[in-house]
Symmetry: D2
Subunit: 369 residues, 4 copies
């Protein structure tokens, strides 16, 4: 009910279903005069795509977007940009097969209670991770605008299951990190840990089980003074957007939950002068104090639960008879969604940050040539 639009000046509206005709997004508020880099858009979609490696679902979706509006001669016009991707490899047979059973920690029961019998349950319908392809397209456009103003958004896999990368990377050099990440199937930065993560996913796949993980996200180049206290703090708006990504169960900024175990004297970031500019010695605040950016990189972690649909036997209920049963739910699912979600976290972040900058007049609505 009117829940598929987010943003004020940079506003996205999601439509489409996992097993419907298309997945789509309307992007309203892109500054006019942006020369859209379609190859970048495609490379972003590539990062979210199915079948990109042995670690991901076998559903085959080429994910070629079609631009329906908002462009003229390769440039944005300031009008809403509608982008769609046609669904190709739809297999709703599993839906019929499992219709009478509640998959544990899947949206079957939620949908039933929300929608009664009416709703598109096939492939999880509107709840499917597939919808995030729309987020990625909007994010790709937002990133291109931000890039023009020296702002970068970067995420990587910090943890898969119990394998965690605790290295503190120098997030002021995102280009190096980007290269490291692109060499990793799971989008981690450390080569050795990446291999371990890959193996843990392969192992869990054989076990017909699944894993979750943590994605770290960094925004660098954001000017100071963006955001505000109260209800439109940077944290408030980022958190709202990030929790719209399926399977997210937690978000923490800066030192996050670790901060809860620290003393003030440890957690506080001392102010220093560097190259004539005020900054902080470390960044446990995650670049935000009082809901407002302080010029250091925005840093936050996002926690993903393990994929709920697994092939292992699980206890559940047969709806028609209300009997307890044990079921194994096969299907085409990622044993771990985290590697493909890296670019989705970046996208939602870029969308929120661009909205802030447009709203505060820090990026104009018509780009200078």
């Amino acid at each position: 009910m009117g829940d598929n639009t987010i943003g004020t000046r940079f506003k996205i509206t999601s439509f489409g279903e996992s097993h419907g005709k298309v997945v789509g997004i309307v992007i309203d508020g892109t500054p006019a005069g942006l020369e859209l880099d379609i190859n970048f858009l495609l490379s972003e979609l590539e990062k979210r795509k199915t079948s990109q490696s042995s670690l991901t679902t076998s559903r085959e979706e080429p994910d070629i977007p079609e631009i329906l509006s908002g462009m003229l001669d390769g440039k944005t016009t300031g009008a809403p940009i509608c982008l769609i991707i046609h669904n190709k490899d739809v297999d709703s047979s599993k839906y019929e097969k499992y219709k009478d059973f509640l998959r544990p920690s899947q949206i079957d029961y939620s949908l039933l209670k929300k929608q009664g019998g009416f709703g598109d349950f096939r492939g999880s319908g509107r709840f499917s991770g597939r919808l995030t392809a729309g987020f990625v397209m909007a994010g790709a456009i937002a990133k291109q605008v931000l890039q023009k103003y020296g702002i970068s958004v970067f995420s990587y896999t910090k943890r898969i299951g119990t394998i965690s990368d605790e290295t503190v990377y120098d997030v002021r050099n995102l280009y190096n990190l980007f290269e490291l990440r692109e060499n990793s199937l799971v989008r981690a930065l450390d080569h050795e840990l990446s291999k371990k993560m890959e193996n843990s996913i392969k192992k869990v796949k054989l076990e017909k089980d699944s894993l979750g993980g943590v994605i770290k996200c960094v925004v660098s180049g954001l000017p100071e003074g963006v955001g505000g206290p109260m209800f439109n703090s940077i944290e408030s708006n980022l958190a709202k957007a990030i929790f719209s990504i399926p399977a997210v169960k937690g978000i923490e900024f800066g030192a996050g939950f670790k901060a809860t175990t620290m003393k003030g004297s440890e957690h506080n970031d001392p102010w220093v002068v560097k190259d004539g500019k005020i900054t902080t010695l470390k960044n446990d605040s995650g670049g935000i104090i009082g809901g407002i950016s302080i010029g250091t990189p925005i840093e936050f972690n996002v926690g993903f639960k393990p994929t709920p649909t697994i092939g292992k036997l699980q206890k559940t209920v047969r709806l028609s008879t209300m009997e307890p049963v044990e079921m194994a739910f096969s299907g085409r699912h990622d044993p771990c969604i985290v590697p493909r979600a890296v670019v989705v976290v970046e996208a939602m972040t870029a969308i929120v940050i661009l909205d802030f900058l447009l709203l505060e007049g820090k990026i104009p609505t018509v780009l200078k040539p």
Copy 2:
């Protein structure tokens, strides 16, 4: 800039400053016909009050609210309710003293960059935790409405610094938990751990240092089918509201970040039939799947950083000369904000949940007598 209002059908607008005349709130959307229990309102404010124990700040604020509108003959009329609390014990002398220094991890630099020289910096102005008195008043009203529909919101201190309560309480019996909590100075549930937490706060206070912690919040009695996928999921809207509380650095639902280390087969909550009703064996999902309530209690943790203003020497910068200095910032601050924030987390949660129920037509705009 227009950032002090939140909600759609149950909407609150915050005003006032830490060292101004008042702290206030306009509450728009309370159903008509509610007999307001003023004693309950006062008891809620009492839980957030300063000087409630040796563990809290020495600022003396009686916090007696005045109702300016929206009531007739002790009942709500459906019109906006404006509540104010007059500030009494204002001491802005520290502000003058420290004006030229940036307090580490405090909002001085943010305010400077956001507002230039213009702004009310005294006592952190609009960024002060004192503003949450308004949230608590709105929350007290929201709770009274929810109560009529069998919905309870309950929070407790789960961790102070490194002392953590890992017990899994039976959150279907909130009344018992409430009693346990009210016997604890830090609003914990376990008597022994409570004492340890108190001592750790006392110790850190002597050291002129500070502590953070974790508050757990539970919503019980919420009907199934509330919320939705995408941008108005229960998690999205709760997170947005919770991050408007000063010092919050993280939020996690259900198993939260722990879920990121679990396998699907461990994390998934098996469906079972209990008393003829479908429910789950455990609640690692935190009562929400696909952004929608499933009838089990909503459960989430909120992480607070340690109070940034401490009396210990800290490295920082003198603004007028851009010199590095070491400063100790005295002032009247809680060594740990967590015990007083317990009722604030409850308040923001009640506000969001009531907004959902009004928006979805599950609570009417005029209460039956």
Copy 3:
């Protein structure tokens, strides 16, 4: 900049351009379980179509919509419905020809000042009346939902230029009025006046000039008690939506501007009891008092200016030289937009009324079968 979405629970997002690939609309908030009547949707579009008679523009657009999402087995699922119409008969040659001239009372200068050189000026781009095809599609869906709850929205041409129909029709019998209207090329109700209106349009077309007019709109069957005082009054929200239709210059409810010349004793609508129910003797209030429906039909007039683009010589300015010139701007335009706008006024009205009813819980989000 984020201006292409309207509504709270029933929310539409417009995209597309006059001379772009498509005109489209995302409709978010249609209750689930509605069996969509496609023929009705087509017949509504037919009423707005170009080339429907000698009185309208010669642009040939079959206007066949494609449904991209939100439907399953012919029923709505509660998910956003995206509908597009492919533009067929695009002729942007005129745009090149007139690029250096400002058409009087057309959007050239506005676009220039708003967008600089960047924007889609072809066929008026986002400002074109063609975009209202999207409104009509959303309106057709809203009307089908309203119909299930006994609510009808009906408009007719009350005036073309100086020919005005001052008859007070019995708006409680909309079916009869509908039949009368469908027999009129200009969508008037009086046969004789209709002929006169047609002739005045033909005459003005030969003169290479244009006409405006007034559309009256009626909503019948709306329950009492919908709306509210202040900023979400029925008038406020209807007016906001109606002014988004190109060429609208005025709106008045009930007796409207005529009320400004009446005494209170004349204008006041006496309360009476009819069939055991309270109602009014007449309806000068237009069915709304204090922003709230009183159960009598909602009635309002919408004023349209004459089509600005005309073939007559007009004074204007050549941009490149800033010289005064006289120009005749040919192109494919309706000499009077009013007959085609009748269904557009209905559409925006239905959209707003459905939003109110969903928001106030008077229409459920899942329709009973």
Copy 4:
């Protein structure tokens, strides 16, 4: 239900009741650093005050505002400004007397249907014109900001009942017009017509009847390129705000409803070059084309119905018995609300225009000293 807030970046929230403790407003989004001119604020309230002449209601309200927040050392801080006015001369005796009767064209029936028995009906509660005192205070602040950027908002009484001022004033010289207006009890510009209007009000007062009228509003100095097509056009947002003023029944921009009788060749405003700048020869468009400002003054008319509560005998219904009755409703009401509404129309206009300029980054959030 959440309907008492309007605006995006400059946002006002109304609270209070006609016969309650206060009338109040929270103004969120005033740029920081504005030296508030309290005398101007008072003079604006003076223009809306009761008992300002023999033509207005006898209720005696000094209307002295109290500033609760958002100011420091006489300057705005960027924080929400809360202003209240205490109600003094409350007489709710009439409410008891007429409780069982529906006043024709008054809000009794609307309130009954909306609120059931619960609501504050005294003095029309939230529906009272008295609430517009809050609008006037917010408008006074908005005007002061606009003034700094060379933008003026000016209204005058164009018609009372059948006495209409059809002169086309030179709205580029608002200062002269302001002086003329302040010499008129009814806030008209023509001395002779003003006297006639006064007399018509006196006459109707003796007859225990009432009159309506038309207020014309002009915004001068607004830069070009403000606003947009679709749902946030200048007309859309102004209309939404203006219809929140009680008794408004119509709004028309530029030539308005008269435009509906003109040909395109008459109505179109020719573009000309004047002092090296592009402008129009006349202003039938009312300064807005395509929802966007073109640099000429914004001009619109607002129609007010006659005051509904009159002392004459009227037909109505006794609620308890559902019998028809004839009643005369005495009370303290203006025989014509128009003269006092002039400043209210200005206020709502200034609020909307400032919101546009803040949103589009044309006025900064911190004013330069």
